[in-house]
Amino acid sequence: MTARGLSILCTGDIHLGRHPTRIPEDADGPQFSPKAVWQATIEHAIEQEVDAVVVTGDVVDRENRYYEAYGAFEAGSRLLRDAGIPLIVVAGNHDYDTLPKMVADLRLDNVHVLGKGATWERYTLERDGKAFIHFDGWSFATEHVHGSPLENYDLPQDSNVPIIGVVHADLDMPGSDYAPVSRAELLRTPAAVWLLGHVHKPGIHHSADPLILCPGSPQALNPTEQGTHGPWLLSIDGVSAQPRQLPLATVRYDHLTVDASNVSDPMDIPPLISSQLRERISTDVDTGFLKLILARVTLTGRSQVHARLQQQEEQDRIKEDLTLKIGTTPVCIETLRVDTKPDIDLQGLASSDTPAAWIAKLLFALDNGKLTDEYTWIAQDCVSKMQEAYGAKTYRSLRQEGWVDGPDRKQAIGELQRQARILLDTLLKQKERPS
């Protein structure tokens, strides 16, 4: 117990056993594993002499079937035990079955799984022999839970002891299969703090009374989990709780939109991206623990080099040319998305009777959602073609894994627009070439 009062380190959705995606193979390594961040979290908890460590579920990634999580979790739990720090966990949809079993196997008296069997359970932290704070927790008992766990929250109130609620739940996602809870429900409870799991994106959803905190995954696992990741240090003084995120994640995903309207040469793109990335990360990001930043860059605007930017070779070259380090942290482009448009007056072009005019008319119709019969046929053909590609044996792996969905009309129209722009740009460039 520190002199500052009660301090709790909380995190969730560690997904031990999973690995962050999109890390270039040549840069990848164990330092990006959630195990590494979990270990850093434990070390930090011990170093900070916190009163408890709370994990809001999904400690174990279901894909990994628990074993590889076991070793890391066990090591961390033992370190905490040796340091006299209790570890309070609830099971999430990923580890509803494995976490209780793992904890039971470990037989460590400092590790407490709350709410096994989808019931509410309380763990009380005492100080000087008196209850100091309650942890009310609820765990998944099955992979899917359609109702709100709070409907059965009936643990006794204790006005003298603050309550921290711990649950793995989908916040404000009614109809979710993963224990949907609403903010209103949480606000109605007597808890001073609600620590929620399931949502990987960290964030404070209610600042106080109660504090609703989604600690998020301590390590970003894919490009959708952008921003800063890491456990949270919760300082409680009476009924007031102050959360502070510890950026222990070693990888950061980010997204940057770059306007390429004024670019006349693709060679100018990498410096442009580099400068904007540097500006953004340098000002907003704590890179202390980061070992890699993966940026998803989208090029926008009406560009004279639209067609060239669409070429894969050009995109690869741009990625290769971008050699950026912020501090000691390397930055890589995870995906370069070219969403530029050709710098063409479609209406003016459409007035003639040439192939370019035909494409211009098509683009005009697509952009405005006015598809004639002819264009509908084209769109349908594009759907068919994309379905053909999707159904090819080449992509059986993707289908089997459900990695990508089959293309639909909307996607086909989007691709048609993109290809129409590229083709138009290409044809117009032919006119510019000396004959």
Binding site: S33, Y67, T354, K385, E388, V404, Q419, L423, Q430
Partner: protein, 1157 residues
Amino acid sequence: MSKAGLHFKKIQVIRAPGFENRGFTVSNLSPGVNIIHGPNASGKTTLARSIQDLLWPSVAREQVHIFGYFDLDGEEWRIEVEARSAKYQRNGHEDNGPILPSVDQKERYSLALHELLQHEIRNQSFAEAIQRESVGGYDLTAAAEELGLRNTPSGQTNVVKAAIQSLGNWKEVQGTVETLRREEGGLPGLRRELEEAKHALDRVELLNLAVTHAKARESLKDAQIELDTLPKVLAIISGIEAETAEGLQADIADWQGKKELAERKQRQAKKDIAKIALPEDGLPAGFLDELKAMRDVLVTLESTGQQYEQTLSRARGQRKNACKDIGDRIPEEKLEQLDPVAWGELAKFTKRAERAHANREQRDAVEHWLKPDDELEADSEALERGRRSLEAWLQEPPLTLDDHRRMRRLAVLSSLLVAAAGTLLGLLIHPGFHTVILAAGGILWYGFWRTGRARGDSDPREAHRYQFTKLDLDMPPTWTSDDVRERLDSIYRDIARLKLAEERKQRWDTRRDDTKELDTLLAEVEKEHAELQQRFGVAPDTTEIELFVLANAVSRWQEAHGNVVALQATQATIKTQIDNKREVLNSKLAVYGYDPIKTAADATGHIRNLDKRSELHSTATIALGLAEATISGANENTEKLQEKNDSMFTKLGLEVGDVARLRELCTMRPTYTERKQSVDEAQGLLKHEIRKLEAHPDFESELKETPVADLEEALREEQEKAHQYEGIRDSIRDIENATKHARNEHAVEDALANKERTLDALTKQLEGDYAAMVGHQLMEHLRAATADAGRPEVFGRAREILSTITRGCYRLDLEEGTPVTFRAYDTIKEKGYALDELSSATRLQVLLAVRIAFVECQEQAVCLPLLFDETLANTDDCKAQMIIQSAIELARAGRQVFYFSAQGDEVAKWFAALQNVEDVDYIVKDLAEVQNLDGHVEVPDLSNFIVHTPIPPDPNGLDHRSYRERLGLSPFDPRQGIGAAHLWYIVDDPNLLYDFLKLGIERWGQLETLINTGGNALVTDDQKVLKALEQNARALGEFVRCWHIGRGNPVDRQALEDSRAVSEKFIDQMSELAYQYDGNARSLMQALRNGKVPGFWESKKDDLEAYFEENGYLDPVEPLQSEEIRLRVAGEFVHADVAREAAGARADALLVRLAAC
């Protein structure tokens, strides 16, 4: 056609090559089709060339002189061409002539089949020209290439392989973990099983003991039961009782027989004893031996007496013989007193004297041979000197060489003689004579030396002769060499003899000492002889031999006489002893009644008789005793045996004498023994097993009573558990190790990350494929929409002509690329073909259409006649039909057509084709007739020709559905595509459908092409009707698309073979199966998975399925449900501007039509 047509009415050939002397005129030509036929050299080609010469006189043949009459734009024209000069008249007035296409277009109006088919380059140039004119400044091909547009997805790239590999790896590690999870989940169960197995191990041991015990118990019980089935009495039966009883009876009988025999012998023995008449106890012991000993002594004495008598007789004879040898020299009375020793000395003397006399006789013989020769008293010195003189003489000259040689020979001979003499003497007389051989050597040396000297002196002979003469030796007869030599030889012999004599003399002197010794011995013998004569009183002249004989005789007599005296004394003593013995014997024998004996032989007879009597007495006495003993023993044994027999039966509880029962019991005894032994063994074993069982720590008393079957069942169960002990223990250990290992691993995390990485890459590739294929699709639409827009009129016209002449079956397309080429699109099969892929007939139609289109489009204002010069020659019916139909269509459009042929069947084909054509005028001209030629082209009867144009059935008021039946349509096959759809599915009005069918337009592909190419005139120009048709077609097209979703391409034998997954062994069966399932790959695979084709390997099924997926036979998407299809079809109607409320009914109507199939 808006251009004015130029129609020849008459052509008059005044002069032309081949027709220099006779021209001909063809008149009444048709503005439509003109079929000009005639045999070879009848003027067909001349007429065709004449038409060209009339149209382009500037390039006309020099020799020709021709007239032509034609209509042009309502005016009548006359043209005369001669020597490339043309004269025109229009409506009877001189004129400069009409404006006609330039001369370079001339060949385009001449359509010869072989030219059309062979001038590919020209056709290609047409295509290139069209392409150049239509590109509009954009190079779509280049753009497509630049953007990498593709119509097919990527193949098995490294990205795909990496994804597959990572997935496999992921599944593998996932499977490993799953397995481990399952195994770990089973650990509690395994541990329980391990405990059970361990307990079972202990139980197995106990149950084994219990089973053994129970078996022993059962064995004892069984053995006892078997034993109890036998009579109890067998316990005291040994098994030999019956045999014993029989033996006893036999023994009793035997003893009774013996008793009877003994009684008979007893009686006989008593009788014999009485008859022998000896005392009861027989002779005294040793009496007979005593008698025999006495008898033997008597025998010996008698024998000795006889021997002495004989010896005495021989001694007397010897004495008598010795007496005879002595004779009267000594009286017999004195002989007994003579000293026997002295007479022995006398005998020795006689032997010594005899040896001395023998030695003397030997000495006398030697001395006789060695006695010196008195005649050889010659002087050896003189002989030597004489020899030397003669030898010297002979050695001196003048001896000739021959003499010299002779001397040498002489020396040799001499030396040989001397040597031979020495040798002989040495051998015969004394070895010392061998020294003579040395002398022979000296003679030889000298001989040789002298011969050498003789040759050296001048006359030395005389001196030597002189010296010789001084010797007292005989001279040679003459002093010639021969005589001297002969004399010398004699001297040599004398010398040799002299030497021999000297040697004998030396030997004679030596032997003289030996003679003296012998003489002394002889003297002594003589002296001793005399003394003996005197001593024994024999006569003085008695020789030593005689003395020797007498001495021997005296000795023998004395010896024989001694023997006679001694024998006579002994003989007397023996006689006395004999008498004594005889007396004793007689006294003893007389007691038993024997007469006195005289000789030992008598005694022997009496003794032998007495011995016999004694033996008989003894035998009878023994026999009597034996018989009495036998009788007694028989009585005793019979009694004992009977008692034993009775006792045995009584003991066994049997009636005495019931041997049969006893035998029966004895027969059962081995069985009893065996069973009893079994019982004993079982009892022993059971006791042993009980001790072992009770000693087990887990012993339970009820185990002693548990049946074997129950125990064995329990044992089996426990054994099964126990056998698993080690396996379970190892499994637990392995699982625990694996779990421990897995907790410190990160293989799953790595595999998962790698899977996601590779799938991301694959997704990116898919997006690239999306882009490329959508881009390609876009490009295709762009081409379709713009390719024809910029095409020159000639292309549109060519397409229109082709559509028209093929009834919409084909559409002309241009294949962009290098070079640009024409293509024909089959509107029914919905597939494009390059020219070389087409049948020659279709190809001809395409080329004809292009040629005609060019002709038409380049004609400025005048439409000139087309000349078909035997275009049908050597063509098949189909092709001929196409050409004829094409020509008819052109004529129908206002162009004059000439067809030249020498073939009657071609003419017939034209007739057949034109017969049903009402709107095209035509004529047929026979040039042979025109020129009055003998030969004619034989035109076959039209009835022999099949009319190729099908005549559809008239609906005659039938409704739409009924008309289908009349048409006999096949079911609609969506796989064939909408282009192949019969118009019945699209055209609602049976009458309109009939009109289309009459025009040969059956399929939607044809109709669509005709509509699109402006061939509406062939069908209808009612836009409402056309719109309705288009709506139905679009809906049908949507149905086809929907139907294809999830179905993939049909599988046929070729697909199965191409897959390389089906071997020859299965290809027939698989093809049949594919046929049964209508080529549905999904159904086929399902059937295969269900084992429809036994023996077809699973791996091959996987390969086949992969092939189907990869090549579009197996669509991963599920087929649409019928309601989904209906909605889509209805939606398509809406898209085609059908009112939403009517679209459903239209869709239903269409689907009913399709379902009706």
